[in-house]
C-alpha cells in the first residue's frame, strides 16, 4: 500500500493541493481540519476532566462521611447511576432527552452537553477511587483528627483528603487517559473532534488509512501527554516516608 501524505495538503472543499499545506483565505486543508479536530478533542477531554474531578471528589468524599447515611446513599446512587449506563447512551440522554424534557436546555451548545455527559460518566469512577483512597487510610488518622478536637469538616480538610488525594493519583492518571480516549464517543453527536474528523475525511478523501493513522497517533500523543503531566504532579505531591500507592506504610 502506497502512502499518500499529500492528501493532508488538499483543500476540504475543492480538493486541490495547496502549497505549504495550510489553507489561506478562508479555505481550509485537511491539515487545518485535523489540527482543529485535535483541539476539540483536547478541549472536550480537559473540560470533562475538570467536571469529573470536581464532582467525583465531592461524591467520593460524601460516601465516606460518618453519621450521614442519607448523604452516603445519595453518593452510592450517583455512582450506580452514572456507572451503569453506557457512555454513548449517556451522551444521547444529554443531547436528545434532556433538552426534550427541559425546554430551557435547548439553547445550550452541544459541546457543553457532551462535556457534562463525559464528565459525569467519569465522575462515578473518580468517586469510587476517592472513596477507596479515603477508606484505605489507617483508621487512626481519622481518630487523630477527632482527638485533636477537629470537626468532621476540618478532619477531612486537614488530615484525610490531603493524604487520600495523593494516594489516588495513580488511578486518576488512568482515568485521565481514559477520558481522552472516551472523548472519541462525542463523534456520535457531531462534535468535530478527531474520530469525527477521521470518519468524515476518510470518506471524502478515499485515503482513510492515512486519516485514521494521523488521528490514532494524535490520540496516543494526547493520552501520553496527560500521563506525563500526572506523573509530574505525582512526584511533586509525594508524601515523604509514604512509599507508593497501595503500599500503606504509615505507622
Amino acid at each position: 500500500m502506497a502512502w499518500n501524505w499529500q492528501v493532508f495538503c488538499r483543500e476540504t472543499t475543492s480538493g486541490e493541493t495547496v502549497v505549504g499545506c495550510f489553507g489561506r483565505g478562508g479555505d481550509e486543508t485537511y491539515l487545518n481540519w485535523i489540527v482543529t479536530a485535535w483541539g476539540w478533542t483536547l478541549f472536550v477531554a480537559l473540560c470533562a476532566l475538570v467536571v469529573a474531578l470536581v464532582s467525583g471528589l465531592i461524591i467520593g468524599t460524601i460516601r465516606t462521611l460518618p453519621n450521614s447515611p442519607w448523604l452516603v446513599r445519595l453518593g452510592n446512587a450517583w455512582v450506580e447511576l452514572f456507572r451503569n449506563i453506557p457512555l454513548l447512551v449517556q451522551i444521547f440522554l444529554w443531547y436528545f432527552v434532556i433538552p426534550g424534557i427541559f425546554p430551557a436546555m435547548k439553547g445550550v451548545p452541544s459541546v457543553v452537553l457532551v462535556i457534562m455527559a463525559l464528565g459525569l460518566f467519569t465522575s462515578a469512577r473518580v468517586a469510587e477511587q476517592v472513596r477507596a483512597g479515603i477508606q484505605s487510610l489507617p483508621r487512626g488518622q481519622r481518630y487523630a483528627g477527632m482527638a485533636l478536637g477537629l470537626t468532621t469538616g476540618q478532619t477531612y480538610r486537614f488530615v484525610l483528603l490531603p493524604m487520600a488525594l495523593r494516594i489516588v493519583i495513580p488511578p486518576l492518571t488512568s482515568e485521565s487517559m481514559n477520558i481522552v480516549k472516551n472523548s472519541s464517543v462525542a463523534f456520535a453527536v457531531s462534535i468535530a473532534e478527531l474520530t469525527f474528523f477521521a470518519r468524515q475525511s476518510g470518506e471524502e478523501t478515499s485515503a482513510p488509512v492515512e486519516m485514521y493513522l494521523a488521528a490514532t497517533v494524535l490520540y496516543a500523543i494526547s493520552a501520553f501527554a496527560i500521563n506525563r503531566v500526572m506523573g509530574v504532579i505525582e512526584k511533586r505531591t509525594r508524601v515523604p516516608g509514604f512509599v507508593a500507592a497501595g503500599g500503606m506504610g504509615g505507622h
Binding site: 450506580e80 451503569n84 432527552v97 426534550g100 472516551n182 485514521y212 488521528a215
Partner: protein, 223 residues
Amino acid sequence: MLGSLDLSFFSWDLLAPFVIKGFIFSIWLTVVATVGGIVFGTILALMRLSGVKLLEIPSAAYVNTMRSIPLVMVLLWFFLLIPFAIGRPIGAEMSAVITFIAFEAAYFSEIVRAGIQSIPRGQVNAGYALGMTYGQNMKLIILPQAFRNMLPVFLTQTIILFQDTSLVYAIGAYDMLKGFETAGKNLGRPIEAYLLAAVLYFFMCLALSKVVRAVQNRVQIIR
C-alpha cells in the same frame, strides 16, 4: 415540564420487532467477545510472562497499542482493514465481533497477567520441585487459582464490555441501542426511545454488578 414525554406510546408489541434483533446481537457480542477475549488474552499474558523475548515483545506491543487507542477508532480500523485482509466485505456485525475479541484480548491479558503474578512464587517453585513441566505447572497449579482470583475482575470487565457494545454505532452495526433508535425514529418518539434504552442498560448492568458483588463474597470466603 414533563408533559412532552409520552411513554404510553410504547408497547412491547410495537417495540419488539425493532429491539429484539439488536438485543440478541448485543448479548451475543458480549458473550463471544468475553470468551474470545479471555482465550486470546490468556495466550497474550502467557506469552508476556514466558521470559522469551521473541514472544514477550510482540505481546507487550500489541497490548499497549490496543490500550492506547479509543475503541471507536479500533472499530473503524478493523472495519476498514478486515475486508482488505480477507479480500471481501464481511458486514458491520461480523467485523464488530472480530474487533471486540481483538480489543478485549488486550484488556483481559492485563487482568490475567496480574492474576498470575498474584500467585505466590513459592507455589510455582513447589510445582517445579515436584518435577512438573512449565505447562503442567501452569495448567494444574497457577491458572486454576489465578482464574478463581480473577473471577470478579473478569465479570466487571464483562459489564464494561457490555456497555461498550453500544459503540458499534460507529460502524452502523445493529445492536440494542440501534434497535431502540430505529424504533424511536419509526414510531416518531426518539426521546422516549433513548430514555427506554438507558433504563434497560441501567437495570441490566446494575443486576450484573450485583452478581459481581455476590461472586466477590463467595470467592473471599473460599480463600
